[in-house]
Amino acid sequence: MADWQIGRSRFEIGVKESLKQNTCAAIGEENSKNLAAVERSGGMSVLELNALELGKKIKSGEVTVLEAVEACLARIKEMEPTIHAYVTVVDEERAVERAKKVQAMIEEGALTSPLAGVPVAVKDNLCTKDLRTTCSSNILYNFVPPYTAEAVWNLEKAGAVILGKTNMDEFAMGSTTETSAFGVTRNPWNTEHVPGGSSGGSCAAVAAKECFYALGSDTGGSIRQPSSFCGVTGIKPTYGTVSRYGLIAYGSSLDQVGPIGKTVSDCAAVLEAVSSYDNKDSTSIPRKDLDFTSALVDDVKGMRIGIPRDYLGEGLDEEVRAAVLEAAGEMRQRGAVVEEFDLSLTEYAIPAYYVIASAEASSNLARFDGVKYGLRAKEYEGLHQMYKKSRSQGFGPEVKRRIMLGSFVLSSGYYDAYYLKALRTKALIKEAFDRAFAEYDMILGPAAPTTAPKLGESLRDPLKMYLGDIYTVAVNLAGLPAMTAPWGQDKQGLPVGLQLIGDCFQEKKIIRAAYTFEQIREGR
């Protein structure tokens, strides 16, 4: 049989060109300008500001967009050899050009968003036009999208300056960012530990001040768990709130894009900016209540908070449990009604999640075949071998495991026993949450059973790693909004995060509670 060579699409670009953008190689050697920015901001580095504070200073002219961007690029250069939060950092030239353009537009009054000019890091599964987007996978090592994801586009319209694309578990499959094909990301709090995942790069970049805020995605906890491990705030909105157009799909029915920031206010403002009804995404929901910043109120009086007993049981680290209970006590003191209750079905969430997410992934990832873009094996005979070799070389072990699992549960003879049963379980879990939200305004619990594990510990036992998602995956199955708010540290000095879960479209309730937690923490 003759060799198959399918015509390369017009979107493909030279490999060399795209690799130039890789990691720190793209950052200019000189960064003395950065010091000027530090001095001008009154001795305190702009990097210490949160996103909204920086936005204000840019608007008032105290800091220029360029100063903020250059401070970030210098910080990236300093931190990346240790942290490795980014897969791709934009060319300094490109960042500078963008910074100047945004600065001019702010001065003209064309950009009025509180986030105008604030530099952002974007998870590498969100398409960015002319900026390499890899999903931390070899199969997309050279992929430069011809278009920008709607969520990112919304930020650009608000005047964001993109610093680069952050590392993640390959195709968002993993809980540690160790399955990335381009190397691990380290936890800025302790570099022996993982940052969590799959949005580990985004959370580490925020924690290490390598950006002012970041975008992540959450299919089974991928924003909330790494936010908890890195001591930052992250929101997974109600399914349908942020457009998935341009988000490279893992589990389409579960994926949502969300903000990761230093504060609750930053996250609320970013969520407000990225949310939109998008007619390019059939699962997008038109909402008129996207003014999330209006919920930044320090008052939880009369709020009914439920803590699922199942979330405090076996497998939960003692220190994390103590943190959750302490937080609950603080809420009670401020007039909230806090009760423990039985959510039920908790143990079924993980199997249902892994069946559904893997099934969807097995189909979603079929398009990566070496025909149109991305990696194609160099030597092969015939079409079949081209597919096989390209995919074998392009995907890592965790991705292959989930493609196999997903293909199996969808195959004839097993579909009813696995996939359909998982869908039914999903419906029952949603009903359990419906019953809970008939009683409570919000659910409080841990974001993860432990604080960040050490590098290399998790991948040895994938089943154990999957069990670490126990408090997060049910939220995706039910399409609910949930967020992580930092709540102190354990004895090792690693951050502990609280998880706040709301009913569908009730982001404002959890933002309000998270804001109160933040006030309490800052008051200490």
Partner: protein, 478 residues
């Protein structure tokens, strides 16, 4: 052949819908165009691109389903059919398996044994694939994604047909119905209508179905008829030889008049169908169905009845005129202009049909407008041209849609009724044919016809036949 066999046939018909844009993106469905010029991230399967359903696709599918007396699944879904092939950019096709939009309908066909009902198992919506082009020169394959995402409906019949005639009648019925609905142009040659034939044979009277094969690559009605005959023969021979018919997909080669096995049931792929999570279920309200029903145009059977009543046409005329929506449209528009239904009908049924046959064209290929046909009928009516000349003018209209008045003027084809001028010509004809004149006078009346013919010939067909007749008779009986 000692035993009697019965052939059992079911059809899977793919029809490309006449939407302006593709089923899940805004790209044009226009035929042709430079390779990959009608594409976007969605129909090229780019990472992160998402499908959004074209409402018109649902409306066409509903219109066809209602016309075929189907039940409507008012809650229907799209499923992904997973398989790897380079013409399929996502490596899955978005189709409908579990809840197709229409099911359990029927259409009626006319057979030798009278009217027969053919069951429709289901109609579902799906997307077309791109096109692979193998470049022998460069030894590589190229993909053109212009067709990728063009909307299709697949109409699956029950195994209710018993011979090729019934199959052709069924296809004709579907084609006419869908053309009347405006849902597709249904051109087999261009691939906007494609039929796969499922066929099995069994001993006459047996209640059990035999093992079936599926035949693909049938590009014309003739090929379908030949393939059915060929496959029937092949299966009967196998059975007679005591061999088994294998359930498999076969590809018909119309040049060799033989089918070849493509793949058997054993290596049939597991398509791992599951509901597409990127698309919402399609909810079809009672109101929507009502609206589509209300908008449904007059279909062929009603139109045929109306032609007989309203235009007083014979059943035969009405049937031929309505056998194509385009023909019926030309008929009605011409009648509206000149108001002579029987006259218009004659031109279309006799002259237009003859020319179509000569050019091996379908009625929908007629390119002339009703205005010029109406003008021609008016010219004949007013005696400006005679019938012989009018036929020549009609050929010009058929070929190039010419204005008949201008054409007659330009070519000097006006009828000559002037008695003086004609008398001179006829006197010349009689003089040149003394034998015929003598024959007539000796009682051979036929001879007059010859003389009239000679006169018309001398006049290049432009003479008024009634005047010629009158003068010839007058001179002969002088």
């Amino acid at each position: 052949m000692s035993r009697q066999y019965e052939t059992v046939i079911g059809l899977e018909v793919h029809v490309e819908l006449a939407t302006k844009t593709k089923i899940f993106c805004g790209c044009s469905t226009e035929f042709g165009g430079a390779p990959n010029s009608h594409t976007c991230p969605v129909c090229m399967g780019m990472p992160g691109a998402l499908p959004v359903l074209n409402r018109q696709v649902v409306e066409y599918a509903l219109a066809v389903g209602l016309a075929a007396n189907c039940q409507i699944n008012q809650y229907c879904k799209f499923d992904r059919k997973n398989y790897f092939y380079p013409d399929n950019p996502q490596n899955y096709q978005i189709s409908q398996l579990y809840l197709p939009i229409c099911h359990d309908g029927w259409v009626e066909i006319e057979t030798a044994g009278g009217t027969k009902r053919i069951g429709i198992h289901e109609i579902h919506m799906e997307e077309d694939a791109g096109k692979l082009i193998h470049d022998e020169w460069e030894d590589c394959s190229l993909v053109d994604f212009n067709r990728s995402g063009v909307p299709l409906i697949e109409i699956v019949s029950e195994p209710d047909m018993r011979n090729a005639d019934e199959v052709l009648a069924y296809l004709d019925k579907l084609r006419m119905m869908i053309q009347y609905l405006g849902a597709s142009d249904c051109k087999l040659q261009e691939g906007s209508m494609r039929a796969d034939v499922n066929l099995s044979v069994r001993e006459a009277g047996s209640p059990r179905l035999g093992t079936r094969t599926e035949m693909k690559n049938l590009n014309s009605f003739k090929a379908i008829a030949r393939a059915i005959e060929g496959e029937k023969r092949r299966q009967i021979e196998l059975i007679e030889e005591g061999k088994m018919v294998i359930q498999e997909t076969r590809r018909w080669d119309d040049n060799k008049e033989y089918s070849y096995a493509m793949r058997s049931k054993e290596d049939a792929q597991d398509y791992r169908y599951f509901p597409d999570p990127d698309l919402m279920p399609v909810v079809i309200s009672d109101e929507w169905i009502k609206e589509i029903r209300h908008r449904q145009p007059e279909l062929q059977p009603e139109k045929m009845r109306r032609y007989q009543e309203e235009f007083r046409l014979p059943e035969y005329d009405a049937e031929i005129l309505t056998s194509s929506k385009h023909m019926a449209d030309v008929f009605e528009e011409t009648v509206a202009l000149c108001g002579k239904p029987k006259e218009v009908s004659n031109w279309l049924m006799v002259e237009a049909m003859r020319l179509l046959k000569e050019h091996e064209q379908d009625a929908q290929d007629m390119s002339f407008g009703p205005a010029n046909l109406a003008k021609l009928i008016d010219l004949v009516d007013r005696g400006v041209v005679n019938r012989t000349v009018a036929k020549a003018v009609f050929e010009a209209i058929f070929a190039r849609d010419v204005d008949p008045a201008a054409y007659v003027e330009e070519k000097g084809l006006k009828m000559v009724s002037d008695e003086g001028a004609l008398r001179t010509v006829i006197e010349g004809v009689l003089e040149a044919n003394p034998q015929s004149v003598a024959d007539y006078r000796n009682g051979k009346e036929k001879a007059m016809g010859f003389l009239v013919g000679q006169t018309m010939r001398a006049m290049k067909g432009k003479a008024d036949p009634s005047v010629v007749n009158k003068i010839v008779k007058e001179l002969l009986t002088k």
